[in-house]
């Protein structure tokens, strides 16, 4: 079988932006194989699938159950594995988001299938799926051959630019084969923020700060810039400031943090240690702001500003706000 399944991630009742990227990647792969793209939405119900057809889904399967209203590892694994039981796909694609990085390996383990994680390229060679994967946080690039059917893959966010490719996107409802009585993990509570900003690993725009910010109290200036860039921008941090306890590890960009590929990356007061550079060098456009004109970060930056971040940041936030308003 030459069809490709795109597993769709939903938030607040709508497919997330990564869903269109996954469908776009699936469309390209299916075209190479001569098959259809099917999209699978696992949710509590009511998720609008309109954008999926626009990006190339021939069929959208809605697999809804009250117990699946919020992401939960065991339930979603059952639902996806249950859907795949008895169906034939050449490949199954997930988004390599925090949710996808939890779900895809579980589905793979349950089905006894290998998984190529966090891929940045997909192609068909001799009828088989070949994936491109950065390894060592991007210090090297591997092309891997997946000798399994279906080939399970998770795709890195922000890499597969969504392309319009109008298909029917006909919606079909399928039964959610879940058994909540078998779930063993119980959620006691959720602490902290509502998480209204995307994770740094998924955000299309990242504003990262390093030791050059001098004090955690100065992060307000980075927040100003982030806010000026709109709701899809998130904060990142260098290892040095995370190790110093200035910022949470969840924001760390680099080999011991998150490897990111946003469309736009600001490195502010970050000199550019090798493990940081590895983690962000695949960004679309890199802007570096640093006092030291010899800082290694300028070697990977598209645009550099040499100067005091405390002078540059307020002006930059203001100009970007004006540019976006105009």
């Amino acid at each position: 079988m030459s069809n490709v399944l795109a597993v769709i991630e939903v938030k607040d009742g709508a497919p997330r932006r990564v869903a269109n990227e996954v469908v776009t990647a699936a469309r390209a792969l299916a075209d190479g194989l001569g098959g259809e793209v099917h999209a699978l939405i696992v949710s509590g119900g009511g998720a609008s699938p309109d954008a999926l057809g626009a990006h190339g889904a021939d069929v959208v399967y809605e697999c809804a159950d009250d117990s699946l209203a919020e992401y939960q590892s065991e339930g979603y694994t059952q639902a996806v594995a249950g859907f795949l039981d008895g169906r034939d796909y050449a490949a199954v694609l997930f988004g390599a988001t925090s949710q996808g990085k939890d779900l895809a390996p579980r589905v793979a383990g349950r089905l006894g299938l290998p998984l190529a994680s966090d891929v940045t390229g997909l192609e068909v060679a001799d009828g088989a799926v070949v994936a491109t994967r950065p390894v060592y946080a991007g210090k090297a690039i591997a092309r891997v051959h997946i000798d399994a059917s279906p080939a399970l893959v998770s795709v890195r966010p922000n890499v597969f630019t969504p392309v319009e490719a109008r298909r029917p996107g006909a919606v079909e409802t399928v039964e959610a084969r879940v058994d909540p009585s078998a779930w063993k993990v119980r959620r006691r509570e959720v602490l902290g923020g509502s998480g209204d900003r995307p994770d740094v690993g998924e955000a299309p725009i990242v504003v990262s700060g390093g030791r050059g910010m001098q004090d955690p109290a100065n992060w307000g200036m980075l927040e100003e810039l982030r806010d000026a860039l709109g709701p899809s921008a998130s904060l990142g941090a260098s290892r040095a400031v995370v190790d110093a306890g200035w910022r949470p590890h969840a924001e760390q960009v680099g080999q011991t943090g998150k490897t990111v590929s946003p469309q736009l990356y600001f490195a502010v007061g970050i000199s550019g240690a090798i493990q940081h550079l590895a983690g962000m060098r695949t960004a679309g456009t890199i802007v570096a702001i640093n006092k030291d004109p010899d800082a290694p970060i300028f070697k990977v930056a598209d645009y550099g500003v040499v100067g005091d971040a405390f002078e540059v940041l307020p002006r930059l936030a203001e100009e970007i706000r004006r540019a976006r308003a105009g």
Binding site: R110, A137, K139, H145, G195, L264, G304
Partner: protein
């Protein structure tokens, strides 16, 4: 409380990776370490054992003979014993998970800890695959794990918030940094590590179904430019972002 913590031998994150013509990496001059997240997992394991007041921490690694070096380091940090499942670890995490699940099935520990990912392959999959193959419940990306009343209570980092999850033992938990600052091995620990048991056996990897076709170094980014000095450079920077890069 018997805990197995899985660790992997990887190049130090400060190392430059050079690809050899044969598609491998040049190991000369590269320092190898326990993968940082696995070190956090080992620290978490030692704390759970200490809180329980009894039990064992077993460090497990799948890899070639050189991985014994990292297992000795784990013993020096405080693990009680170690097991090396010898085999060639490739890009198929499922094969690695198969070997670990087989060993878990024999040992039947209360808790199996993994680093949330290894910093060489960056696949972030072996822990959860092992849980599935071993039929154990699992929590991923835990910033902390505490055992109480036969359950592991985990703080899971999820998109800006923290989920407090409880899972009945036996279970698999994958660990992120959280407050797991790894302890330094004491001199006494290093001496004791030499006498602690380190078992070796063949890893039941089976056939890997993901194979590396080629490995290359990343393409250099095109030469960038310094837009200017200080705040005066901002208008030109914003113009370039809008009109040239088209990202605003």
């Amino acid at each position: 409380m018997n805990i197995v913590v899985c660790i992997k031998r990887v190049p130090d994150t400060a190392a430059r990776i050079r690809v050899t013509p044969g598609g491998g990496i040049d190991a000369s001059g590269v320092k190898y370490v326990i993968s940082p997240y696995d070190e956090f997992a080992l620290e978490a394991a030692l704390r759970v054992k200490e809180a329980a007041g009894s039990g064992t921490v077993t460090a497990l690694s799948v890899g070639d003979a050189a991985s014994a070096e990292q297992l000795r380091a784990a013993l020096a940090m405080g693990a009680d014993d170690a097991v090396l499942l010898q085999g060639e670890v490739g890009m198929d995490g499922l094969a690695t998970a198969r070997a670990i699940a087989a060993e878990i099935g024999e040992r039947r520990p209360d808790l199996v800890l993994f680093g949330m990912k290894a910093v060489d392959g960056d696949q972030q999959q072996v822990g959860l695959m092992t849980a599935e193959l071993a039929g154990l419940p699992a929590v991923s990306v835990a910033a902390s794990v505490v055992v109480e009343n036969g359950k592991a209570v985990c703080h899971r980092e999820a998109e800006g918030s923290i989920e407090v999850l409880e899972v009945p033992l036996p279970a698999v938990v994958t660990i992120t940094k959280g407050e797991h600052e790894p302890r330094y091995p004491s001199l006494k620990g290093i001496m004791a590590a030499k006498r602690k048991p380190l078992a070796e056996k063949a890893a039941a990897l089976g056939d890997g179904r993901i194979t590396v076709r080629d490995l290359s170094e990343p393409a250099a980014r095109p030469e960038g430019r310094i837009v200017g000095q200080g705040a005066a450079a901002v208008p030109e920077l914003v113009r370039l972002l809008r009109e040239e890069a088209k990202v605003l």
